[in-house]
Structures are given as structure tokens and as C-alpha cells.
């Protein structure tokens, strides 16, 4: 695996992401600055980590989506490259049009940092092969703008094409409004692109990869990547 982690002004979970890759046994990633116009040659994974790019001052992810490096990411994705966007990274991917929909302010208008239940909806994406189908994970969220929304047609398409990767659920895997931490439509926590090679998700698998941190439910995601990109 040859991964790059993008750095925008205000990115703050880049070290967490690098450590998760390391824990999963992946080679050390390279860091790419937002003003670059090209990605390093030979990459097979681009990661947009969490944070507050440009302070999230316009809309979360809006300004980062227009930074020079995103054009390179778009070309990379168009050519079938794999892209993972977590939290602010997911917000950037939707703002850049690489994934459909948008992430609005949480339903109760407050920042939320806690572990939530997450049901694995697809195990046939390169991000999730190491999970069991229907597996229920406990993974933290830490966001103010995680309320996923899309118009009815888009939502129907996402559901119809099986592009919802993760949904918020309870410990038994039941998806309901009571298990929805932020008001996301369909309890959607993560979606993939049409070719299943771009994943955006709000929860932070990179923060739950070691027993000392309280669990390892996030680790299979990185192991899946390693399996897909040996």
C-alpha cells in the first residue's frame, strides 16, 4: 500500500490516521500539502483526515474542496484510485462532488464526541472486507456537522445501489431514530462512490485501533485496505 494523507490548514487528525495505518501494519504514509497540484506518483490510496479545514468557516469542507490538491484527487479518483475521507474528509468529499449529499449541523446543534454503534452494511467494498456482514461496531464520532442529507432521488439511488457502507445503530444492530446521533437521513454514517473506491464516513475508525484506547473495532477497516492494496 502506498498512501498519502492530505494536509489542509486546520487538519487535526492526520497523526491519528498515520498511527492507525501503522498499527494495521501498513507502510508509513506520505503527507501532501493542500497547495500541491499533483499527487506523488505510484499512490494507491488518498486519505482526507478529520479536522477543521480553513476553520470550517464558510461551510464544513467547502473551502478545502476548492484547494489545488483536490483537482489532483478528483483525477486520481476518476482513474479508479481509492480515496478515504473521514469526518472533515467526508465533508470535503461531498463539497467537492466526489460523493453525493451534504453534511449539515447535528440535529441537536451541539458538537458530539462519543462512541456510537455502527452497522456494517457492505463487506464487498475494499474498505470493509475484513468485517463480518452485519457486524456491529462501536466507534467514536467527534463532529458538529455530521447530519447526512441528500434529496430523495439521490437517497433512493444510494440505497438502491447498496452504497451505504455504515449506519448508526444500537448494540444489537437495530437502526432507529433513537440510535441516530446527529439526525442523518437513513441513519447514514458512511457511503461509497459508484465504483465503491471512494468512502466517506463521519465516525473515526482511526481512534479505535488499540485495546489501550478502548477497543479495536476500527482496525479491520485499515486491514481491509491493506488486503485490497497489498
Amino acid at each position: 500500500m502506498h498512501a498519502a494523507i492530505l494536509l489542509f490548514p486546520g487538519t487535526n487528525r492526520e497523526r491519528d490516521m498515520a498511527r492507525a495505518l501503522e498499527v494495521a501494519g501498513a507502510p508509513a504514509p506520505v503527507f501532501v500539502w493542500h497547495r500541491e497540484t499533483t499527487l506523488p506518483a505510484g499512490l494507491d490510496l488518498v486519505i482526507l483526515p478529520g479536522g477543521f479545514s480553513y476553520g470550517d468557516y464558510l461551510r464544513s469542507g467547502a473551502m478545502a474542496a476548492r484547494s489545488p490538491i483536490l483537482e489532483a484527487v478528483r483525477r486520481f479518483a476518476d482513474q479508479g484510485g481509492m480515496v478515504l475521507g473521514v469526518c472533515n474528509g467526508f465533508q470535503i468529499l461531498t463539497e467537492a462532488g466526489l460523493l453525493p449529499g451534504a453534511l449539515m449541523r447535528n440535529r441537536d446543534l451541539r458538537f458530539i464526541c462519543r462512541c456510537v454503534g455502527l452497522r456494517v452494511e457492505r463487506t464487498d467494498t475494499p474498505f470493509t472486507t475484513r468485517y463480518a456482514a452485519g457486524a456491529v461496531l462501536s466507534v467514536p464520532v467527534a463532529h458538529h456537522d455530521g447530519n447526512y442529507t441528500a434529496d430523495d432521488d439521490t437517497l433512493a439511488r444510494l440505497e438502491g445501489e447498496g452504497r451505504v457502507a455504515f449506519r448508526y445503530c444500537d448494540a444489537a444492530g437495530v437502526v432507529s431514530d433513537a440510535t441516530n446521533p446527529n439526525g442523518s437521513r437513513g441513519n447514514i454514517a458512511g457511503i461509497v462512490s459508484e465504483n465503491r473506491r471512494v468512502l466517506g464516513m463521519m465516525p473515526h475508525p482511526e481512534n479505535l485501533v488499540e485495546p489501550a484506547l478502548g477497543g479495536i473495532d476500527g482496525r479491520p477497516l485499515f486491514e481491509s485496505l491493506l488486503e485490497a492494496l497489498p
Partner: protein, 747 residues
């Protein structure tokens, strides 16, 4: 009141005035007539407005510590592991393997009451800068918050705004907020306390200090532009509040955490080179205080061209530039020739960078505005010979014992449910779930335990243990004992996770020091802190004093908040959660005669009997240390499966917290089930559990230490049982514990 010996003799005649300054203008600047005479004596002439403004902020209580200095000097500040004690931007201790922990706690009380979101946010921003200024990457934030009574009509708004402000800033800069404490009491109506603490980690051989050096070296301004916000903030923080405090809203600064994040990264990037000679953040009193401190510590002079300062607004004056408290700014002295390197780093991070002056050998600060001199002041008399007062003080009278009648008329299950669900006893989850406590991926123990535990990235076998503690109702009743208790409780909380307590930062929040009774509280608290620091080998390495916490003449309960830092080997740490059914429950450190005895000033007395009376529980510092050392040894040996110190609410509340954290109940067998036994707040006590196989090891180690280890029960079931009487189920306790704050905030 008497001037310190090193203050120049003052003339008795009416002093001269110029530049439209009148005695009323002097008073508006918070200077007394005596202090104005000293200004004139120092300058040998009347000050102009710029100079008067500079004296005003430099000699404000907030910047000069003029009422508190005499007593702060008595605090113990040294230990073999202390690298830097009080006097720099933050304290520094050695944490092994070439690493240093850098930390400090600071108040932002007045701004947070006036404008809770920005007041709290900029409090976080300011304390972060104090830490990364020294070359440390911030790795954790904590906060100690005191709000008024829940019934006070402003409380809900203040809680909401302060919490959102702390989260809004800390979350964006990517520093986890991992712990703290929150109290509610009518004594804080009208004057809340917002104390923020930052802990950073730096290579011990690459620390940065504020003393300027090198005549001719460039003085550089970096960060945000300067606006008109926060002018006279330091002076505001040094006055009492009144009904017109709302009018002071424009003196509150506005925070920009995004710029702060860039500033952290840019400073740390430049600090990895050898470009920086000295660096100082622009905090209270902004450019004035930072430039004076740097020049004064270096024994040099400085010339500043104020027109070169990056400005946010047009038509700003030298007076405004010197007094603005715009946030996210730093002042640096660079090595000659390093300007281009430094400029490139700050431009990369899209921050302002301007060479605004040079160091001189004159010992004076000369301020220029488009070439014309607009201020010329001697640095040492101003920065170092500021007034120092030996204010009159009265010791706090020892309170009469409390009326405890009716204590045993309340059934313990009811009392427990009420205590664990009362504003001070209830879970603060609603608050800390608004803080990103996980970013950076090193949070091993999250908020809600005795101390937060944060892994060291560069020494991953070890972690920092962090806590903040103070029980204002104890300090109010007996400042000496109450402050010693605050230090002891911080030490105990660190011990309870297995850490070796190393040092503390103190945030002294008191009322008006010009009142002898208030000054007496301050003097008593310093005595108590000193006693406990010495007994526990737990020195003060940094701190902050916030006085004049009064509204309409009513002072807050005295609150010397203690921020404690310890070091723990991760493999030898412990948490409070019960781990399994069938573990033996031990009480360590209890007095010989009973499991608990002391109800005076307890949470029980206040919440159940409605009385705030009596002296606080005495702290036996020798016993404190012996018991703590035993607990740490038990944890290190892997002999205990859970550990929790006992504080508010005593034994039963402590056991309930352990049960709730672990989802396992407990059956206790005690001498009796009286209120004093169950809810007494006797000090230096811990509850630990051990598997049946290891229980004897616990007893053996305690016996060897000459301390009793009482078996008081067994973990079991899904409820709390005392002497065969079944109390509340965990479900009911959890509902009470977790329900109060969300319910209150939704109300």
C-alpha cells in the same frame, strides 16, 4: 497598605498632568493617585496617554500580581524534576526519556460572564499559547468551571455558552479536552469561574523562554492582525463587577481557533530550527506586556515601530495598538539573518509576519509612529518595580460544628439517589461529550474518571495523568485546610490511576483583596497549599491569580483550583470501574473507629439537610502520603482490579460511581449504615477491589505498610446493597446520575 521598599520615593506635591490627562482619566485607567505619583517619579515628567495606558495595564492586578506576590513567593516551587517553576509562560517538569511536560492553568472569569462563548473560547486560546510558546505541543486541555445556582436565571445560558466556547476552540485546534470539574453554587451567581488548563510535551533540551537577548536582534510580530478588541481587558479583570458590567462587552476578545491551530503548527515548525532567540505570547495587555516582559527579563531595551504592526482596522492609534488584546498573536526575537527563514514558515501557514522593532542596550522602550517618538519609558522600573502591597488581612474564623440533627432520619437509598443526581454529584457527560476528548488518539482514560490519562507519543509505554480539583465549600469554611485538601485531592486523583504525582499549577480565584477578610482567605489558602505541597513533594510550577471576583460587593466562595500532573506507566495504571463480579472490595485509609465519620461541610449536609455548616474534614498530610504510596504500590504490583478515591458524597457515592462505571453492583458489609459512615467525607481514603485470589496480597501489602485494609464487601449483582438492605438498582442510579444535567439544560 504600604509601598514595597524598591518603589521609588514619591513626591508629595500635586503631580503634573499633560496630554489632556486629568485625575479622572487616571482613575479610569485603574491607577490610584499614589500610583500616578510613582509613574511621574519614574518618568521624571507627566506621562502621555500612550504611556499612561501602558502603566495602567502593567500595574493592573492581573498583570502585576501586586496584592498576591508577597504570598505567592512562599509557595514551594522546586523539586529535582522541576525544570522551570513560576515566572515563565508555563511551568515545566522532567517526565523522563528527554521529555518535558509544560503546563499551566489560567482564569477567564470576567469575560466568560459577560460573553460566555467568546470569554471561554479565548480562555482556552490564551492558555494554549502559554504552553506552545515554550516549545511544547499541546496534548491535553482541562477546565475547572463554577457556575451559579441552577435556579439562577442566567445559569443555563452561561453553561451553554461556556461549554460551547471551550468546545468550539479546543475541538478546532485539535487538542483533546480530557478532564475537569464543574460545580454549581449560589455563591457564583453573577461571577462564574472559568479556569482552563493546557498540558504540552516538549523535548526537555529544546524549551523556549521569553528573555530577550542580542542587541540589534529583530523583534518580530506573528499571527493575527491587531484590532480594537479587548482593549483594557486586563484592567477589567482587575475590578469588581456591577450591574453595568454588560457595558464591558466590547472589552471581551474574539477567538479564532483556526488561526491558533496555524500558529501552533507554524511556531513548532520554526522552533525546530535555530531561528528563535526568545518568544512570548501576547496575552493580557497584548503588545505592552509581551514586549516589556521580554526586554525586562533580558535586561535590554527595545524600539518598536508601531506603524509596522499588522492592523485589522484603519486609523488605529498607538494607544490602541499597545493595549489591544486581539488574540492569536506572538512576539519573537529572532537570530540575526533568520528573518527570511521565519517569514517563509509563517507565510506557508498564511499568517502575518512583520519585523516591528529591534533590541537595544538602553534599558528603555521607545515607541515610534511613522518615525515620531510617541512613548519612551524605562523598562525595569515599570516591569519589575511595579507596586507590591502587603494588604491587611484577617484570618477566617473557624466555623462552629454543624447541626447534624436529622441526618439519620433519611433512608440511605434515598440519600444516595439524591446525592448522585444533585447538580454537583451528577454526571457531567452532557458537557464533556461536547468536547473532542479523543483527537490525537492518545486518550487512555476519558473524562469521568479520577484523572484523565493521556499517552505520550514519544514514550508510548508511559502516560500523563491529569486532574483539576477544588472544593470551594471546604475553602470557604477554612481556607488553610480547604486549600490543603484541594492539593491533596489532586494528588489522590493522580494516585488513584496509578500515577506518581509530580507537580501542580494553581489558579487562585478570590474576591476583592482590599477587604481584609478576603485577603485572609487568600493568605490562608497559600498556607494550606504550601503545607500540602511540602508534605506531598508536589511543587507549584505555574499559576494564575484572579482577584476581584465580586458582584455588587458579594465575593465568590474562595476557589484555589489545583491542576495536577503525574506520570504513569501504562501497564501499571488502573481505572475506577468495577471489572468483574466476585471481586473483594477494600476500604483503604479509613479512620480506625469507623468507615466514615465527618459530615460537617459534606455534600450530604448541604444537599440532604440543606445546611452549609461546620469545618471541612481535616486532611492528615502524613497519612495522606502513606495511604497514597500504598495505593500506588498496589496498582503497580497488579494486585487491584479497580481504584477510586473518595471525595464528595463519601464512601457510598464513591462505590456507586465505581459500580456505574463498570456496570456491576456491590454488596457492602459495614459497621453500621448511618449517614456519617456512608456519606462522611473523611480524607485520604480509597476504595480498591481485588480478585479473591489477590485479596490476601492486598492485605499483606497494607499490613507491611502499617495501614488497615478493611474488607467492606464484594462486587455482585445489579444493585447496591448495604448490610443486607437492597438499595437502588444501577439502572435507577444511572438514570439519576445521567439524567440531571441534560434535563436541566433542556428546561
Amino acid at each position: 497598605m504600604s509601598a514595597a521598599p524598591d518603589t521609588p520615593a514619591r513626591p508629595q506635591a500635586e503631580p503634573p498632568y499633560t496630554d489632556g490627562i486629568t485625575p479622572a482619566v487616571v482613575a479610569e485607567h485603574g491607577l490610584t493617585p499614589d500610583e500616578y505619583r510613582t509613574v511621574v517619579a519614574i518618568l521624571g515628567r507627566a506621562p502621555n496617554r500612550v504611556e499612561l495606558g501602558i502603566f495602567s495595564v502593567m500595574w493592573s492586578e492581573h498583570c502585576s500580581y501586586k496584592s498576591s506576590k508577597k504570598w505567592l513567593k512562599t509557595l514551594p516551587t522546586t523539586a529535582p524534576w522541576v525544570i522551570q517553576g513560576p515566572g515563565e509562560n508555563a511551568g515545566v517538569i522532567d517526565i523522563g526519556q528527554g521529555l518535558a511536560a509544560v503546563f499551566k492553568m489560567e482564569s477567564h472569569n470576567h469575560p466568560s460572564y459577560i460573553e460566555p462563548y467568546q470569554g471561554a473560547a479565548t480562555g482556552v486560546g490564551g492558555i494554549l499559547r502559554d504552553v506552545f510558546t515554550m516549545g511544547a505541543r499541546p496534548v491535553a486541555n482541562l477546565n475547572a468551571l463554577r457556575f451559579g445556582a441552577p435556579e439562577d436565571p442566567r445559569t443555563r445560558h452561561l453553561v451553554s455558552g461556556v461549554v460551547a466556547g471551550i468546545g468550539g476552540y479546543g475541538n478546532c485546534v485539535g487538542v483533546p479536552t480530557v478532564g475537569g470539574e464543574v460545580n454549581f453554587h449560589p455563591g457564583f451567581n453573577g461571577n462564574i469561574l472559568v479556569n482552563a488548563m493546557t498540558v504540552g510535551v516538549a523535548p526537555a533540551d529544546r524549551l523556549f523562554y521569553s528573555a530577550a537577548a542580542g542587541i540589534g536582534n529583530p523583534v518580530v510580530y506573528v499571527g493575527s492582525r491587531t484590532g480594537r478588541d479587548g482593549i483594557h481587558g486586563a484592567t477589567m479583570a482587575s475590578a469588581e463587577f456591577s450591574a453595568d458590567s454588560e457595558e464591558k462587552r466590547p472589552t471581551v476578545q474574539v477567538g479564532d481557533p483556526f488561526t491558533e491551530k496555524l500558529l501552533i503548527e507554524a511556531c513548532l515548525e520554526l522552533m525546530a530550527t535555530d531561528a528563535i532567540v526568545a518568544i512570548q505570547d501576547m496575552g493580557a495587555a497584548g503588545l505592552t506586556s509581551s514586549s516589556f516582559e521580554m526586554a525586562s527579563k533580558g535586561g535590554l531595551g527595545v524600539e518598536l515601530d508601531l506603524d509596522r504592526v499588522p492592523m485589522r482596522e484603519t486609523h488605529m492609534t498607538p494607544y490602541e495598538l499597545m493595549l489591544s488584546e486581539s488574540q492569536e498573536r506572538m512576539l519573537m526575537v529572532l537570530r540575526p539573518g533568520a528573518e527570511d527563514l521565519a517569514r517563509a514558515v509563517f507565510e506557508k501557514w498564511e499568517l502575518e509576519f512583520a519585523v516591528i522593532g529591534t533590541l537595544t542596550d538602553t534599558g528603555r522602550m521607545v515607541l515610534r509612529w511613522h518615525g515620531a517618538v510617541v512613548g519612551d519609558l524605562p523598562i525595569d522600573p515599570l516591569a519589575q518595580a511595579s507596586p507590591e502591597y502587603d494588604r491587611p488581612w484577617e484570618p477566617t474564623p473557624r466555623p462552629a460544628p454543624a447541626d447534624q440533627s436529622g441526618a439519620d432520619a433519611v433512608a440511605w437509598p434515598d440519600a444516595l439517589a439524591r446525592l448522585i443526581g444533585c447538580p454537583d454529584g451528577a454526571s457531567k457527560r452532557w458537557i464533556w461529550e461536547q468536547y473532542d476528548h479523543l483527537v490525537r488518539g492518545n486518550t487512555l482514560q476519558r473524562p469521568g474518571g479520577d484523572a484523565a490519562v493521556v499517552r505520550l507519543e514519544d514514550r508510548p509505554t508511559h502516560a500523563l495523568a491529569l486532574t483539576t480539583d477544588c472544593t470551594p465549600r471546604y475553602v470557604e469554611a477554612d481556607p488553610v485546610m480547604g486549600a490543603a485538601q484541594a492539593v491533596a485531592e489532586a494528588w489522590r486523583n493522580l494516585t488513584a490511576v496509578g500515577a506518581t504525582p509530580l507537580a501542580l499549577t494553581d489558579n487562585m480565584n478570590f474576591g476583592n483583596p482590599e477587604k481584609p477578610a478576603i485577603m485572609g482567605q487568600f493568605v490562608g489558602a497559600c498556607q494550606g497549599i504550601k503545607d500540602a505541597c511540602l508534605a506531598l513533594d508536589f511543587p507549584v510550577v505555574s499559576g494564575n491569580v484572579s482577584l476581584y471576583n465580586e458582584t455588587n460587593g458579594q465575593a465568590i466562595p474562595p476557589t484555589p483550583a489545583i491542576g495536577g500532573v503525574g506520570l504513569v506507566e501504562i501497564a501499571r495504571s488502573q481505572s475506577l470501574a468495577f471489572k468483574a463480579e466476585g471481586d473483594v472490595v477494600f476500604l483503604l485509609g479509613a479512620p480506625d473507629e469507623a468507615e466514615g465519620t465527618w459530615l460537617d461541610r459534606s455534600l450530604f449536609l448541604r444537599e440532604i439537610l440543606g445546611r452549609e455548616e461546620g469545618p471541612p474534614p481535616p486532611v492528615d498530610l502524613v497519612m495522606e502520603r502513606r495511604v497514597g504510596d500504598l495505593v500506588r504500590a498496589l496498582i503497580a504490583a497488579g494486585e487491584v482490579s479497580a481504584c477510586h478515591d473518595l471525595s464528595d458524597g463519601g464512601l457510598l457515592v464513591g462505590v456507586a460511581e465505581m459500580a456505574l462505571a463498570g456496570g456491576v453492583g456491590c454488596a457492602l458489609t459495614l459497621g453500621d449504615a448511618k449517614a456519617a459512615t456512608l456519606f462522611g467525607e473523611d480524607q485520604n481514603r480509597y476504595v480498591v477491589t481485588a480478585s479473591p485470589a489477590k485479596a490476601r496480597l492486598v492485605e499483606a501489602r497494607a499490613r507491611a505498610a502499617g495501614l488497615p485494609a478493611r474488607r467492606i464487601g464484594v462486587t455482585a449483582g445489579t444493585a447496591l446493597v448495604v448490610n443486607g438492605v437492597e438499595g437502588p438498582t444501577l439502572e435507577a442510579l444511572r438514570a439519576a446520575h445521567e439524567g440531571w444535567l441534560p434535563g436541566y439544560m433542556a428546561g
